[in-house]
């Protein structure tokens, strides 16, 4: 037997005692009287902190016809408030040696600053101000709308892969807002106005719809004191609507799309399946899907890579993706990029054959052990970047999960069995709930 391999096998046994101790200990959470949730993730290695406010409002909460308004409003929050000039927020963060930005997704919008640990109070003072005091002008609207249209140009219009993926999403969802792109449809973005932005702001920007997350070199008691002083005084919005979105009906028809563009150099096959998300107190199925994605398409040793790149000469790249942190039904995605000379039809057939064989053969227990070992180690590595832990809590708490769910998640992942993974594959990889897309070269010569 190979010496190196036997030595590794021994280490795996030793390593299986790795535990997550230390991470959950660093997390403190509490709630202010007005309903604002607070999470603190401590790391005292460097005198630096990250201050974030997450709103439970994303593109999937937008009114019909106003797609892109959640993201538009995110941009507009850097304009004036009662107390600050347009641009003063970022300029003040910069003048204190910090960095700030914001991001929008389907289920949340978040604002953050990274600064020296002694600047927490100033950040809270400014962030709490713009939670309720923005003052927008028509001029802001016209200019910033041009900016988001250029952002869409950059991210989507200039990139056929993004255009294709937008069409895939739109076809996947019959009735849910996840079918509409976060940045918005271009024709609706062009019509966004001051009232659209303000209506979204008044509805969703309130302490009882927000989560404060501070990570880094901070003391939870001090965070609480300052949070009460700055955020605690803002009244809750009594009219905050319950977060109910139109849901998907049973999906009973497999769909196919073909997207052609002259700018495509490398055609590929994409497949998405409607898939359940993590639910509070019931994360087991989502955990099995996370492991399924790793097993099928998580890298060099994954099932699809073995089958399509090593055992046969079908693909240059293959992968599977699933992120269960979502308020409503999400997707499980596969991609196969065929080798030069292999047709999309052959690539798709090889992918489907591999999926069928996987469900028949079941999970390789050694592969499952390796993946679980990596997930345990990931918890050690995660302590090197507490901002990423903070982000994980932000995503969880804005998608219907609790602090306890997030803390239990690593153990839920470790408890998944091979049989459960195959069972969830049978349940979710169902043609009737799928979209298959071919991204193709458009060979037409344009003038």
């Amino acid at each position: 037997m190979n010496r190196l391999l036997s030595c590794i096998a021994g280490l795996v046994l030793a390593a299986s005692t790795l535990s997550a101790e230390g991470i959950n200990d660093a997390v403190t959470s509490f709630e202010l009287d007005n309903g604002m949730q607070v999470v603190v993730v401590e790391d005292h290695r460097a005198p630096v902190l990250q201050h974030m406010v997450w709103y439970k409002a994303g593109s999937a909460d937008e009114p019909k016809g106003s797609s892109g308004v959640a993201h538009f409003l995110e941009h507009l929050l850097f304009k004036a408030t009662d107390k600050m000039e347009a641009g003063e927020f970022s300029a003040t963060v910069a003048a204190n040696g910090g960095q700030d930005n914001a991001f929008t997704s389907y289920d949340y919008t978040a604002y953050f600053q990274r600064v020296a640990a002694d600047r927490l109070e100033l950040m809270m003072q400014m962030e709490s101000d713009r939670m309720v005091n923005i003052r927008l002008t028509e001029d802001n609207i016209a200019t910033e709308r041009d900016v988001i249209l250029e952002e869409r140009n950059m991210r989507v219009e200039n990139n056929p892969r993004s255009l294709f993926s937008e069409q895939m999403g739109a076809v996947q969802y019959f009735n849910h807002r996840y079918g509409v792109p976060i940045i918005g449809w271009k024709h609706e973005m062009e019509e966004l106005g001051l009232e659209d932005a303000l209506a979204f702001y008044r509805t969703y920007y309130a302490p009882n719809n927000a989560i404060l997350i501070v990570s880094g070199d901070v003391d939870p008691a001090e965070v609480r004191r300052l949070a009460e002083q700055y955020y605690g005084v803002i009244p809750a919005n009594p009219d905050l609507p319950e977060r109910i979105r139109t849901q998907e009906p049973p999906q009973t028809a497999a769909r196919r799309i073909t997207f052609k563009d002259t700018r495509v150099a490398q055609p590929y096959v994409s497949r998405s399946y409607l898939a359940p998300e993590r639910d509070s107190g019931a994360q087991e199925k989502a955990a099995a899907l996370v492991l399924l994605a790793e097993i099928l398409g998580g890298g060099t040793t994954s099932y699809l890579t073995e089958r399509l790149q090593f055992d046969s000469d079908i693909a240059v790249y293959s992968a599977a993706f699933y992120s269960g942190t979502s308020l409503d039904d999400t997707t499980f995605d596969l991609i196969v990029v065929p080798k030069d000379g292999v047709t999309l039809e052959d690539a798709e057939q090889a992918m489907d054959q591999a999926l069928a064989d996987f469900i028949r053969d079941g999970v390789d227990p050694e592969q499952l052990d390796r993946i679980k070992m990596q997930m345990r180690a990931a918890q050690i590595y995660a302590r090197d970047n507490v901002d990423s832990i903070a982000n994980r809590y932000g995503r969880a708490l804005t998608t219907g999960l609790t602090v306890e769910d997030e803390q239990a998640w690593p153990d839920v992942l470790q408890a998944v069995t091979g049989d459960e993974i195959v069972a969830v594959a049978r349940e979710v990889l169902r043609p009737e709930a799928s979209v298959t897309g071919w991204l193709m070269r458009d060979e037409r010569v344009t003038q």
Binding site: A46, P47, A94, T143, F310, M373
Partner: protein, 437 residues
């Protein structure tokens, strides 16, 4: 025959306002110098290795050989083929990433304390005994060719490649280190073996470790990993002459948004005026919301989502670069505004207030970079490659604070060259054509 460890005793306390990053310089028993930050709070180590030269070491006619060789390091080594190597690595939950840039081949590794010896044995094989199996070569070659074909239809890539050719001509900087479809298709296993011999040598090696390891253990580890490397590799090419001229180059491409890269001759990293130039760039286009270009092009006019400029001061040439993207019917206006701001900063300089704001930001943002073992290891290797002393971390902000508005404006007048500013525009821009100043 073991030598005594050459500990450097002076521990440097960094940043008054930042992490106490204590950098030690250690010499391994076999004589390899490396930098270490010892921190036992999390049971893992981040290591960064750099071999100077990178894709610029490609032999004539073999463009892409260093890049392909680097990509193959994780595709089988020693007794393990690609799949067995990947499985072994997963079992240890270690991660090794390999990259080849214009100036260096870099290896970033992360491994747990509890199995560091086994992880290092795997890493050692990828450096000393990569297999370069023919099936792995063909598999990775196909991936690179696929990526090159995609680049040929990607406006950002087209802009970069076109600009590099204009700026550096036949020097390796003037072409894509990944190679071309023709050169990569023609590479043989012998070319890859040669590229490996060209790159991996002690005369160009830089090593940093950060994390849960003592200097003694780190010295042993570095020796186990690197002992046996040849003393010398292929000679580095000479400096590149910057051949940019002022004007606009348009590459027609059917896409809604034009992408532009602009630039002129830059300033060397070791130039005494580098700090002043750095502050100048922060004011002019340094990427924050406060820069003049961001204010004029985005905030006031909504012409773009993002615009920034930066000093691209590399080992063998220095250029001053920027980028912007605007809809085809608006890019001409964006370029006009940029040219105006470039000329205004050259002739009128910037204000004392702008300089102060830029310095406050830059000095405050510096400690934020030291946010984890991996980032710190990379910073330490950057510093070694640039020939900076270990105490640079503690003195860097003082150097930044010492820059005056007079310095900045003198450098603005000398460095900024509105007449020599070249734009490469990829798209279907309206009202723009090729021009030379």
């Amino acid at each position: 025959m073991s030598r005594i460890f050459g500990f450097i005793l002076a521990l440097i306390l960094a940043l008054p306002a930042a992490a106490a990053v204590q950098v030690e310089e250690v010499t391994s028993p076999s004589g390899i110098d490396f930098w270490l930050v010892e921190d036992h709070s999390i049971p893992f180590v981040a290591m960064d290795l750099r071999f100077r030269g990178g894709t610029s070491l490609d032999a004539p006619g073999k463009r892409g050989s260093v890049y392909l060789m680097t990509a193959l390091l994780e595709e089988g080594a020693g007794d393990l083929d690609a799949r067995a190597h990947a499985r072994a690595l997963e079992s240890l939950a270690a991660s090794f990433s390999y990259d080849a840039s214009d100036d260096a081949v870099s290896i970033s590794a992360r491994f747990l304390t509890e199995n560091k010896d086994a992880a290092l044995a795997l890493l050692r094989d990828t450096i000393h005994a990569p297999r370069f199996d023919q099936d792995a070569i063909e598999r990775v070659r196909a991936q690179i060719l696929s990526s090159l074909r995609s680049d040929a239809k990607d406006p950002d890539s087209i802009a970069r490649t076109t600009f590099s050719r204009l700026a550096f001509g036949d020097h390796p900087y003037g072409s894509d280190g990944e190679g071309t479809v023709d050169t990569v298709s023609a590479l043989t296993r012998e070319d890859i073996v040669q590229a490996h011999a060209d790159v991996f040598a002690k005369d160009r090696l830089y090593v940093s470790l950060v994390g849960d390891i003592t200097p003694e253990d780190a010295g042993i580890l570095v020796d186990r990993l690197l002992e046996g490397l040849p003393a010398e590799g292929r000679a580095l090419p000479g400096p590149a002459e910057v051949t940019l001229t002022g004007g606009t180059t348009v590459v027609d491409f059917d896409t809604p948004q034009s992408v532009a890269i602009f630039g002129q001759t830059g300033i060397d990293r070791d130039d005494p005026d580098f700090f002043a130039a750095y502050v100048l760039n922060q004011v002019l286009g340094g990427g924050s919301f406060e820069s003049r270009l961001m204010d004029e092009v985005r905030e006031k006019r909504g012409l773009t989502y993002g615009i920034y400029s930066y000093l691209a001061s590399r080992d063998l040439a220095a250029v001053y670069l920027g980028s912007v993207a605007s809809a085809n019917d608006r890019i001409a206006q964006a370029i006009e505004v940029i040219r105006t701001e470039w000329a205004r900063a050259a002739s009128e300089g910037v204000t004392a207030e702008e300089v102060e704001a830029a310095k406050t930001y830059l000095t405050g943002a510096y400690p934020l970079r030291f946010d984890g073992n991996g980032p710190i290891a990379r910073i330490l290797t950057d510093m070694q490659m640039e020939g900076l002393p270990r105490d640079y971390i503690a003195t860097r902000n003082d150097k930044m604070r010492a820059v005056t508005v007079e310095d900045v404006n003198r450098v603005a007048a000398e460095l900024l060259d509105p007449e020599g500013l070249r734009f490469v525009v990829v798209g279907a821009p309206e009202g723009l054509g090729d021009s030379t100043n």
